[in-house]
Amino acid sequence: MDKTVPDFATALAGIEDGMSLMVGGFGGSGAPIELIHALIDRFKATGSPKGLTLINNNAGNGRVGLAAMIDAGMVAKMICSFPRSADPRAFTEKYLAGEIGLEIVPQGTLAERIRAGGAGIPAFYTPASYGTDVAEGKPVAEFDGKHYVQERWLKADAALIKAELADRLGNLTYRKAARNFSPLMAAAAKLTIVQASRIVEPGEIDPEIVVTPGIFVTRIIEIADAKQEEALMREGVAYS
C-alpha cells in the first residue's frame, strides 16, 4: 500500500461542485496553503469546484488560503466558530452582500461535531449554547439536573490537512499547535487529502508518536517547503 501521489491534480481529484470540504488549521497554524491554492488553480482553469461548503474554525485572513478561495467565488457557505481575523475582508464583504452563507457554531461544539462525525456518533448533548440564540430550534434535554443542547455530527465529502511527517501508509504527525482540528477532520471526511512536509517509509515514524493513524488518510502529497499563512499575510501576498 502506498498513499502518496505525485501531483496536485491526482491529490485533489474527486473534489466536485457543491461538496462539503473540511480544511484543517486554526488561523494560519496548520492551514494547508498549497492544497488550497492548488484547488484555486483548478477552479481558475476549469470553473470547478464551486458552490463549496467550507468547514474551518475561521473564515480566512487577508488574501491567501481560505480568503483567496472565498474571493475567487468558490464558496457558497462557511461553517465556522469565528469568522473574524486580522483582515477578514474576503468573508465580510461577501457575507454583508448576502453572497455567502454562514452557520456559526461554538468552537468546542464544532470540534465535537466533527469528532462525532468521524466516530459514527450521529448526535450528542453539550452544555454549550443552552439558553442562547445559537440553541434555537435544537432539542434540549435535562441530565442530572442540568440542561444540555443536542448537536448533530458533522461529516464532509473531503478534508484538506497539513501534516509534518507522513509515512506511505498515511500515519501522520503534526508540528507544534498545528494539529488543532486536523486529526478530527481526517476521520470525518470520505476523502482525506494530506500535504506533508516530509514523506518517510513505514516504520520510520515511531508508532508511539503517531497522531493520526493512516486508516483515516486517503492521499498524501509531499510539500517540502510549505508556506505558513501568517507569514504570507505579513509579506502582503495576495493569491489570485
Binding site: F26, G27, G28, S29, G30, N57, S81, F82, P83, R84, S85, A86, P88, F91, T92, Y95, L96, L102, I104, V105, P106, Q107, G108, T109, L110, A111, E112, I114, R115, T126, P127, A128, S129, Y130, G131, T132, D133, V134, Y174, R175, K176, A177, A178, R179, N180, F181, S182, P183, L184, V211, Q228, E229, E230, A231
Partner: protein
C-alpha cells in the same frame, strides 16, 4: 488616587485569586493581561483552546513561530512541561470540568450570572469562538470588565439585553470599581474602591448590591 482601576489593575486584582498550580483559560484580549500579574511564588498553567497547555509569554519580535499561537492568533512560547492536543481534547478540558478558572471579558453581566460577551446585536458578522463552551465546565467563571460602558451605562444588570453567551454561569466579577460575587442570583459586594461610597457604586450598577457585614477595600498597585 484615580477614580477607577485601569484594565491592567483589574487584571492584577483577578490574578491575585488564582491559586498556585491552577489550570486557567484567559479570554482573548484584555483577559490575556492576567497572566502578567501572577503573584510571586505562584505558577498557574495556562490553557489555550487551539490545543496548548502551559504556554508562556510572547517571543521577541522576529522570533515568532506561527505554528505556535494562542486562541487570539498571537505567537506564544512554551514552558517546560507544555503539551499539545487536538481540539476535541482541548474542549474536553473545558466542558469536562478540568479547568479551575476561566476569565472572560463581558458586554453585560446579569445578577443571576447570565453573561453576554459575543454579539452586540444583529449588525455585522457574528463570531462566537470558544466563549459558549468556556462558560460551562470551569470551576470558577470570572469576568473582568469596566464597571460601566464607554458612555457610562451600567454593565452589571438585572437582566442582559444583548444576546447571551451562557445562562447563570458567572461566579465573580472584577470591575474597575468593585469585586462582586454572584450568589443565589444576586450581586454580593466583596470589595469596592476605598474612595467610593456604596451609594455611588449602586448608582452605576443596574441591579441591587447585596451588602455583607464586611466589604473590603479594592486597592491595586500603580501599573
Amino acid at each position: 488616587m484615580s477614580t477607577k482601576l485601569s484594565n491592567a489593575q483589574i487584571a492584577w486584582r483577578a490574578a491575585q485569586d488564582i491559586e498556585d498550580g491552577a489550570y486557567v483559560n484567559l479570554g482573548i484580549g484584555f483577559p490575556e493581561m492576567v497572566a502578567k500579574f501572577q503573584p510571586p511564588g505562584r505558577q498557574a498553567i495556562f490553557h489555550t483552546e487551539n490545543g496548548v497547555l502551559n504556554f508562556g509569554e510572547a517571543p521577541p519580535e522576529g522570533e515568532e513561530d506561527w505554528d505556535l499561537i494562542n486562541a487570539g492568533k498571537k505567537a506564544i512560547t512554551l514552558k517546560p512541561g507544555a503539551a499539545f492536543f487536538h481540539h476535541a481534547d482541548s474542549f474536553a478540558m473545558v466542558r469536562g470540568g478540568h479547568l479551575d478558572v476561566a476569565i472572560l471579558g463581558a458586554y453585560e453581566v446579569a445578577e443571576n450570572g447570565d453573561l453576554a460577551n459575543w454579539s452586540t446585536g444583529p449588525k455585522g458578522v457574528p463570531a462566537v469562538g470558544g466563549a459558549m463552551d468556556l462558560v460551562h465546565g470551569a470551576k470558577r467563571v470570572a469576568v473582568i470588565t469596566d464597571h460601566v460602558t464607554k458612555d457610562g451605562r451600567p454593565k452589571l444588570l438585572k437582566a442582559c439585553t444583548l444576546p447571551l453567551t451562557g445562562i447563570g454561569c458567572v461566579t465573580r466579577v472584577y470591575t474597575s470599581l468593585a469585586v462582586i460575587d454572584i450568589e443565589n442570583a444576586r450581586f454580593v459586594l466583596r470589595e469596592k474602591l476605598p474612595g467610593m461610597s456604596v451609594d455611588e457604586l449602586q448608582s452605576v450598577t443596574g441591579a441591587e448590591l447585596v451588602l455583607p457585614d464586611t466589604i473590603g477595600d479594592l486597592v491595586a498597585p500603580e501599573l
